[in-house]
Subunit: 206 residues, 2 copies
């Protein structure tokens, strides 16, 4: 199994973290998104949407979209609930992540801490909006976690992995987690799960 990824990507980290929990070996293919290495003709032939992470199975089948990869890898493991409504709730949080959380929390981290270039004039104008939407997404998480240990079913699932990835580095994008104490306690709980690895751990092999 081969994982095409940028080592700094939170979307890629979701997959690496689950693979570490599962103790599964994989070949790691690092690509630099800041150098458009996911937009080459060679990579676009693998994923027409030009994005990492991309999982390539040994039989050649390929799967893009971090949260769809989590679903695939988590089947028949404790990281995917057995109850259909809890399954739908896990997906609810993963769709929330891609629509309401990542485009704000992850994008500001990318602009301010990863890319290494100044903000464009348009990005400067978008900054306040993304700060506000990112704070709102973190507040929605905080409401959910105020009375729960994990996002769904009181058990650690791929919903937690999916939301943890960019939340735990939100401060790199200028977000202050002091305002979301339930989120901070949950970050600690996620970090204490057996098999946890950091965002800079790549190419885990059991």
């Amino acid at each position: 199994m081969k994982l095409y990824d940028d080592p700094r990507s939170g979307n890629g980290y979701k997959v690496r973290l689950l693979l570490a929990h599962l103790g599964r070996r994989y070949e790691y293919v690092p690509l630099d998104v800041t150098k458009a290495q996911t937009r080459t003709a060679e990579f676009l032939a693998k994923n027409a949407n030009g994005r990492i992470p991309l999982l390539e199975l040994d039989d050649g089948r390929r799967l893009p979209e971090s949260n769809a990869i989590l679903y695939w890898l988590a089947q028949a493991t404790p990281y995917w609930p057995a109850d259909p409504f809890e399954q739908a709730e896990v997906l609810q949080w993963l769709f929330f992540e891609q629509y309401s959380h990542e485009p704000n929390v992850a994008t500001l981290r990318y602009w301010l801490a990863i890319r290494g270039t100044e903000l464009s004039p348009l990005e400067q104008q978008l900054l306040a909006q993304k700060q506000q939407l990112g704070r709102a997404a973190l507040a929605v998480l905080d409401v959910r976690l105020a009375s729960r240990t994990f996002l769904v079913g009181e058990r650690y699932t791929i919903a937690d992995i999916g939301l943890y990835a960019y939340t735990h580095v939100a401060e790199e994008g200028g977000f202050d987690l002091a305002h979301v104490p339930a989120v901070r306690r949950w970050l600690d709980r996620v970090q204490s799960q057996p098999g946890h690895v950091r965002i800079d751990a790549v190419g885990f092999a059991s």
Copy 2:
């Protein structure tokens, strides 16, 4: 079963279309997003993220996020594949929809055809970027559909329902579907599925 929704919403239409295919009855609760009716204290108590569609089951459980609702309703029906890799591919396209397609294709329709107010100066600056990203998303769909009848497994699934909702009204947002002929043929195939209803059909009852 109760569906909170704005009748003009493509995200809500996904759910209404699947419910129509399934012949399932539901109570329809229309809300006007342009009047912030999803941001009232009453609605925020139901969905802290303040968005429609929201499905409320008869036992009081609630599920937001259109694509998670599709997952829940499609279980054990022909609209959700049996093969786990095809399931992951369905989710891949639904995550693509929420990240790469909807924020551009649907947002321009909302700005230009639904909301009924002028673009703000910031929106005017974002217009070209959203047009470009929306065209790119439609092109990714076109590549996929050039050699297939449906998005996954050569069968009509919730991946098609999820992508159809805003693609079939993309022209309201200024997108020209003449550039994506495979998408246009697929739109016709979706419309010819048994039980198809239009975006303005609400409160279907079998």
